[in-house]
């Protein structure tokens, strides 16, 4: 079946989207939520398990205090109210990656409620309401083998790895976000980006979407102006920031085409496909599982002490948006320049480069120039490009000291990226240092004068601009390592 989809601009001119985001963050605690097993990513399947996270008969959970603390800090950073008393609840459903066939989660008594997060979209602040932040345990991972698609259909065997089972998971749910119009996909992306940065600044998770430590479900609905909100769908399998934007956009277009054709939106879970950029129907929520939530009787209620919460609030780090504002002022950047730094994901890198002893201009030049270009070309993140802030600071220092010119510095940087060592080591090893020793250069200058009598004559006549040709010849003879300024001075003094 081929359906001609309406153009996005046309859709958002006629319909108003309402979005909502549910984000899961795996906490970077040392141990799991309810037992002492390690939480490191990877590892041979079913090696980081014990009777508790395997749900063996008779085992009991004990809540991880570090995870509770991390959740409260997230809640505080999102301007939430922290519950003075709340409970875990059991969410009951059968699935083989759930060792107990229930998940210990929170239901009507979440740890943090009613907050907000400001995100910047096109230079304007959009305030995203936060409904709740709660704590739960992650499930195991099911792997279907023997089939073509990796999904259960057609598979000959299903394998379960419980290493992930019981890792603390924080769920952050926004309030519905109406009124963003055509910007809805960008707002969604900006929110997840900002949330990621906030959580990273708290140092409670590595928040890496590609490793699944940050996962996002996107709710989308459409309504006609002035009418009630439409039926929403929940899109899962949204595994990158770019996908968040694409998933919202694609779901807006799909829902519009259904509504345009006189159809109705089914409340359901949909799966986003990275390759095609569209969504397909998952399980319907109209015959939704009854999770039979009830308070977890194996755990005592959580009652965070008010003074503890106050001290956690006191010790929150400066949050990313404010931090960026401060840096922008310190670095003397325009809004536009700062925006390109943010977009390149270079804020922290530049900050660290400056801390390693370089000027804001020097740091920014490399990260937004040569390094950003290489990251783009190879499709990797700037932070993973192969040069560290310390490298960049050292490189720029060599330039500032006149030991490298820009061209040589780029060559040295290539060596750094290739893993040959520090800039100074590479400069020495490859013999790339600028030659500014006049004794060594005088011979080259004299040779150039002898080889270009016409040019030399012009300079003697006062046409100093002609010196460029002689400088070029000297540079060529010294394979670019001569200090251009010194060469120029030498030429003029010899010919005057």
């Amino acid at each position: 079946m081929t359906v001609t989809l309406p153009p996005y601009e046309d859709v958002v001119a006629r319909y108003e989207p309402v979005i909502g985001l549910e984000t899961h963050v795996e906490l970077g605690t040392n141990t799991k939520m309810f037992c002492g097993c390690p939480t490191d990513f990877g590892g041979q399947p079913n090696t980081r398990i014990c009777p508790v996270c395997l749900g063996l008969a008779g085992s009991l959970p004990v809540a991880n205090k570090a995870a509770i603390e991390a959740t409260i800090r997230i809640g505080l950073a999102l301007n939430c109210t922290i519950a003075t008393w709340c409970r875990f609840a059991r969410k009951n459903y059968f699935y083989p990656d759930m060792p107990k066939n229930y998940q210990i989660s929170q239901y009507d008594e979440p740890l943090c409620i009613d907050g907000w997060l400001d995100v910047e979209v096109d230079g304007e602040l959009v305030r995203i309401g936060i409904e709740r932040v709660h704590l739960e345990e992650d499930t195991g991972k099911t792997l279907h083998v023997g089939g073509a698609t990796g999904r259960i259909h057609g598979a000959t065997e299903s394998l379960v790895d419980y290493n992930r089972a019981g890792i603390p998971l924080v769920e952050i749910v926004t309030k519905p976000i109406p009124g963003t119009g055509a910007l809805a996909p960008i707002v969604a992306r900006a929110y997840v980006t900002e949330l990621r940065d906030v959580i990273r600044s708290l140092d409670v998770s590595d928040v890496r979407m590609e490793q699944g430590s940050l996962r996002c479900d996107v709710n989308t609905s459409l309504n006609l102006p002035g009418e009630e909100w439409g039926t929403r769908t929940e899109t899962k399998n949204v595994n990158s920031l770019r996908s968040v934007e694409r998933a919202v956009r694609s779901e807006i277009i799909r829902q519009a085409s259904v509504l345009d054709a006189g159809g109705r939106i089914v409340q359901e879970t949909r799966h986003f496909h990275e390759d095609t950029g569209d969504t397909t129907s998952g399980r319907s929520k109209e015959t939704a599982t009854d999770y039979r939530y009830f308070p977890e009787p194996d755990l005592v209620p959580l009652a965070p002490d008010a003074s503890w919460v106050a001290s956690l609030k006191e010790s929150l780090p400066e949050l990313p948006r404010l931090h960026r504002k401060r840096l922008q002022t310190e670095w003397g950047l325009s809004d536009l320049d700062m925006q390109s730094v943010v977009n390149a994901g270079a804020v922290e890198l530049i900050e660290q480069t400056i801390a390693a002893g370089t000027t804001p201009e020097g740091a920014r030049k490399w990260w937004l120039g040569e390094l950003a270009r290489r990251a783009n070309e190879t499709g990797i993140e700037l932070a993973a490009v192969g040069a560290s802030p310390a490298h960049v600071a050292e490189l720029q220092r060599l330039v500032d000291e006149g030991k490298l010119n820009d061209k040589l510095a780029r060559t040295v940087l290539e060596g750094v990226i290739a893993g040959e060592g520090t800039p100074a080591e590479i400069m020495t090893a490859r013999g790339l240092e600028v030659v500014s020793d006049t004794g060594a250069l005088t011979a080259a200058v004299d040779e150039a004068i002898a080889a270009n009598p016409d040019v030399a004559e012009k300079i003697r006549e006062g046409k100093v601009a002609a010196a460029g040709a002689l400088i070029g010849a000297v540079m060529k003879a010294t394979r670019g390592q001569a200090d251009a300024k010194t060469v120029r001075e030498l030429i003029i003094s010899r010919l005057s």
Partner: protein, 492 residues
Amino acid sequence: MSDVTRLTATEIAALVASGDASATEITQAHLDRIAAVDDRVHAFLHVDTEGALAAATAVDERRAAGEELGPLAGVPVAVKDIVATKGVPSTAASKILEGWRPPYDATIVTRMREAGLVMLGKTNLDEFAMGSSTEYSAYGPTFNPWDLSRIPGGSGGGSAAALAAYEAPLAVGTDTGGSIRQPAAVTGTVGAKPTYGGTSRYGLIAFSSSLDTPGPCARTVEDAALLHAVLAGHDPRDSTSIPQPVPDVVGAARRGASGDLTGVKLGLVREFAGEGAEPGVMAAFHDAVDALTKLGAEVVEISCPNFQYALPAYYLIAPSECSSNLARFDGVRYGLRVGDDGAKALEEVMSLTRESGFGAEVKRRIMIGTYALSSGYYDAYYGQAQKVRTLITRDFTSAFERVDVLISPTTPFVAFPLGARTADPYQMYLADLYTIPANLYGGPGISVPCGLSEGLPVGLQITAPTLADDRMYRVAAALESAIGTLTPGELS
């Protein structure tokens, strides 16, 4: 040597401590007794001969090395098969866990091993502790040593019968609605449910998490107190375990054994002292009350108006929790798996496994609980039952403002014939009518023999405020000093 199986745990421990008997001899004598009678009693689901003898040898070696031994070192103990024991089958009397050998020990088992107790084996129970007669065991019923045609109570009928048949001097039970106390009553033994959280649940195959409490079973009050002291204490692996120190139950039992209850106020629960109980049970109970009065206790009648709602509230809370607790038995990771022929879908295999792995009573409770928790019914059933629980707690706390402990018969009737109550679940549930309130409240309760009715034992229940387990031991020991222990005739 005389028959050591007739001795109390206290006496056995003294023999081992003095070197007059080795733990190995004591253990072997009990293993021989099990071999001689258990085909008739069926108290055990698994006898761990090798493990028991190895544990006994270890105690003997420690003694020979001059190590100081605990007060129960070398005493054999039988453990209800709902408690996880490392490397030893732990089935909860269910087909769904047939052959499962846990890779870990329950905390109470670890404590007993460290104290030098010798585990003889695992005792029979109603499947997942759901029942009052041990007839719902998937491996066949246990028979009451007082009359082999009658039930030994439940769910911990195996532990109680092992004591009454002199197969073990001590046993461990779990009490969710009366599963320690009611079997004790109908077998003429002593059984105590500690304060909820006083003994660790880690390693108890969960039936109803907010009610389950492991506790001691014995033939004397002092023996029960000694085992209680070993089992109890805070466990960081159980977050509902209480951090307060364990009351001195052994001291209280010894003080009570002097037979002086001067100044002790007993509250006779009006709602449990009349209708519903067999006349013979009430007669024995009233005789015991008279005996307690003679020991100096003051008896006042106390009304606990909400106790009448305890049974229905319990039969919503316990099934709700069990419907969730038992969800993990699906054939995916361990235990029984049915229908895994490579052609069936996972859900089908799960369903077939649970269909054939669980017995009828377990299924009944899973269904009741699933219904009670379902969306739209939660408030009317589970939510309402929790409110009743609060009211029952209030009845207890206001009663304990006036009296030190509450007393009642443990169960309305003596041991009934096998099959008499299996046709009507409600008739079966009535066996726990008097024991359930203490579980909903969380306080301790003990059943101690108080006489006979038509030749069968009757138990008297003493309940105390939470964390005041010592009070009930004092009263129980005093009663025991007045009327003695009960001894069944030889097995027919």
